[in-house]
Amino acid sequence: MEIGVVKRLRGGLGCFNCANWLPHVHYPFAGYCTVWGGITFEDYYCAKHVMMSVDVEWFYWCATCKVRLTREEALTHRALGHRVVRGAYVDPDVREEIYEG
């Protein structure tokens, strides 16, 4: 199955809770699939889906608060119902949207 083409959630699984997916830093309904190497959407699903967890030491990302988290913090944010993911996707041309000074 081609990655990133199934457009419906499957049994509560989707890019939104996939460990391979990085939601966009500002518009988290879209994001970057690190396996496919392209943009997919939160309600897409594919066979490469890996359930997101915070089991390992890592710097996670809270898409609700838009902050970087340690594993310990990630557990707290998760417990509060926040959307904790592996990281955030930043557009490669973000520099054009930020003022120099």
């Binding site: 457009k7 966009h24 830093v25 500002h26 943009i39 609700t64 949207e97 930020i98 003022y99 000074g101």
Partner: protein, 644 residues
């Protein structure tokens, strides 16, 4: 008869989330359509994530000032809907992300806690939860037309249509929101596409997704909102025009004014000016090119380790004969104070471009203010008279930047060119003739390239000005210590008095030499009994307000101070006269710095103030409100608080 078009709108979203591109595209679409535009960036100092917006005014007449409430708010995220809940007029439009309806203000991490509290109170008073859905409901009850865009589904459609990855999610989302917003104002897809092409040029990977995004949004609006009504073409349709920010205009002026050495330490809102010079820095040499066997020479743009180095290096370059400048804002200018004194003592022609922002201290680093007027005038220790000039708009800023170099070299003294963050970040449309590179010309003053035997750097003269020879062209001393005519350090009381008097005479020469019409301008009916006084970028809001007041039968005149040091005391006294009537100082500072200066120099007390203290731009409607309150209630001080 041509219909007067006057449209104001806001595009809001997260800082770094595509607002810059969409604002620029919006401006370009209206310029291509033939209208005048004015657009400013209001952005948070956190670099990325917090709420930012582009505020635009489009008119068939002069686009002088921004205006609220606006006709349209395009809210790319939940925070933008809630932040601008009071900024859209009855009958106007709100475009928002349909999926953000359930977002609660209290859960928006980037939102200021104070704003959350205000929203909680506002919604609680209406028995509503502080959500985007509640805001939409409130706005609909106020007569605002709301359009919820299914941004996710629309972006999917863009992705499917392209068949290739979208280069930038933020840009595509912004273009969709913007196109939907422009649809409500009668801007067709043709103009949006032209603007997208103008914005992204020859970058097919960026161009294609955004053209597709615009089409998807336009089709959505056609299918869901109804008939599209095209805005007629504006009066400037078909003309080649330029859009530029205040930073860019000043940078251009410095290059055409002969700048060869610019220093800076990165600081908002000054840095963009130096970056622009860096990117466009080559001076055409003309006749000299054959002699030097070069077509052009670059301007040296140097990022120094701090502002102390920036001003000292500029002073060194100026002493060596370069046209030299540095660029900064309040905190940086504070660090430059000691060196400014040195430049006065050494009589070095250095230009300091001072972009004011909201202080004190780091204050609100990316917002505007006019709190540094007295700081600029009284900077430096030990009797340091200097020239301070303030520009009111882009065109003035262009010519003033060239004049600043001329005056610095003619009078061999530091010149502070006072501007502000609003002007720095505000983009306007200009015609070729607005910025004539030859209009001011270059004047380098009394200068000797090959100093004769016995040359004295500080020779006493009636004007207070001595011939300037660049450092290195002869044996000479530029000294920050008090000195004799040669520049040798001297504590002799006669030498000391002579040099203090020399510098004072020079200041008197400056006051006599600069024509009065360059020091100030009197706008409006000279016989009006209400006088607004101001300086800097408040000019355009005041001029726009005067038209409004005139329509309401209130006759006012506007005394715009352009050169604040030396202060044009006599002319100001003559204009305000023995019976000055009602004089109102309009300033973006709390201490009434211009009013203070007028009283200090003329003895005339300015009894009324309209003040903007919230670090947002001054709107014309606020000036109208302030004047009317002062006239009706005799209020001494009216603080206006518009802007999000």
């Amino acid at each position: 008869m041509r219909v007067l078009v006057d449209i104001s709108f806001i595009v809001g979203g997260p800082q770094g989330g595509g607002i810059e591109s969409s604002g620029q595209i919006a401006l370009k679409a209206f310029v291509v359509k033939g209208y005048n535009v004015l657009g400013t960036r209001e952005y948070h100092s956190n670099i990325m994530g917090a709420h930012s917006y582009f505020h635009v005014r489009v008119t068939s007449g002069p686009a002088r000032a921004l205006r609220i409430p606006v006709d349209l708010v395009v809210a790319l995220d939940a925070e933008s809907v809630l932040t601008h809940i009071n900024d859209v007029r009855k009958g106007g439009y709100l475009i928002y992300d349909l999926d953000s309806t359930g977002v609660d203000a209290t859960r928006i991490a980037s939102m200021e806690p104070s704003l959350k509290s205000r929203l909680r109170r506002l919604f609680a008073s209406m028995n509503l939860q502080p959500t985007v859905g509640s805001a939409v409901k409130v706005l609909e009850e106020r007569g605002v037309k709301t359009v919820g865009l299914p941004l996710k589904d629309m972006l999917k459609k863009v992705s499917d249509t392209l068949g290739t990855p979208i280069a930038s999610i933020a840009k595509a989302v912004n273009v969709m929101g913007l196109t939907a917003g422009l649809y409500t104002q009668g801007v067709s897809l043709q103009y949006v596409n032209k603007a997208i092409e103008a914005q992204f040029g020859k970058r097919p990977k960026v161009l294609a997704p955004n053209v597709t995004a615009a089409r998807v949004a336009f089709e959505f609006m056609e299918q869901n909102i109804g008939e599209f009504k095209e805005l007629p073409e504006g009066p400037h349709r078909g003309r080649v025009r330029m859009i530029a920010s205040g930073n860019e205009v000043v940078a251009m002026a410095k290059i055409v004014g002969g700048l060869t050495f610019e220093t800076f330490y990165p600081i908002t809102p000054a840095s963009d000016e130096a970056f622009y010079i860096e990117a466009n820095k080559y001076l055409e040499l003309g006749e000299l090119s054959r002699k030097l066997e070069l077509d052009k020479i670059p301007v040296v743009v140097l990022q120094t380790e701090d502002e102390i180095s920036a001003i000292n290096m500029a002073i060194g370059a100026a002493a060596a004969g370069a046209r030299a400048a540095t660029s900064t804002s309040g905190p940086g200018f504070s660090l430059m104070n000691e060196a400014i004194s040195m430049a006065v003592e050494m009589e070095v022609p250095v230009v300091i471009t001072f972009w004011m922002r909201a202080g004190p201290s780091t204050g609100i680093a990316t917002r505007t203010g006019q709190q540094d007027l007295l700081h600029a005038i009284f900077s430096g220790h030990g009797d340091t008279p200097k020239i301070v000039l303030a520009s009111g708009d882009h065109v003035e800023a262009f010519y003033d930047a060239v004049k600043a170099f001329n005056w610095a070299e003619e009078f061999q003294t530091p010149v502070v060119h006072l501007l502000d963050k609003y002007l720095a970040s505000t983009i306007t449309v200009l015609d070729e003739w607005d910025l004539d590179p030859h209009k001011v010309g270059i004047s380098r003053g009394l200068r000797v390239e090959s100093p004769p035997e016995g040359y004295m750097r500080y020779k006493i003269s009636d004007s207070g000005i001595s011939a300037f020879a660049p450092l290195g062209s002869a044996t000479m001393i530029f000294s920050s210590l008090e000195h004799d005519e040669h520049g040798f350090a001297s504590e002799d009381p006669v030498d000391r008095e002579a040099m203090v008097e020399k510098r004072l005479r020079k200041f008197e020469t400056i006051a006599k030499s600069i024509p009065e019409e360059e020091k100030l301008a009197l706008h409006g009916d000279p016989s009006a009994k209400v006088t607004l006084v101001s300086f800097g970028s408040t000019k355009q809001a005041i001029l726009s307000a005067m038209e409004e007041l005139e329509r309401d039968g209130v006759r006012v005149r506007f005394l715009q101070l352009r050169v604040l040091s030396p202060f044009p005391s006599k002319t100001v006294t003559d204009i305000l006269g023995d019976d000055p009537g009602i004089v109102i100082s309009v300033e973006a500072n709390s201490t009434g710095q211009l009013a203070f200066l007028i009283r200090a120099h003329t003895g005339i007390e300015v009894k009324h103030l309209i003040q903007k203290l919230n670090a947002r731009p001054l709107y014309d409607v606020e000036v109208v409100y302030g004047v009317k309150r002062i006239l009706s209630e005799g209020a001494r001080r009216v603080v206006v608080s518009g802007g999000a």
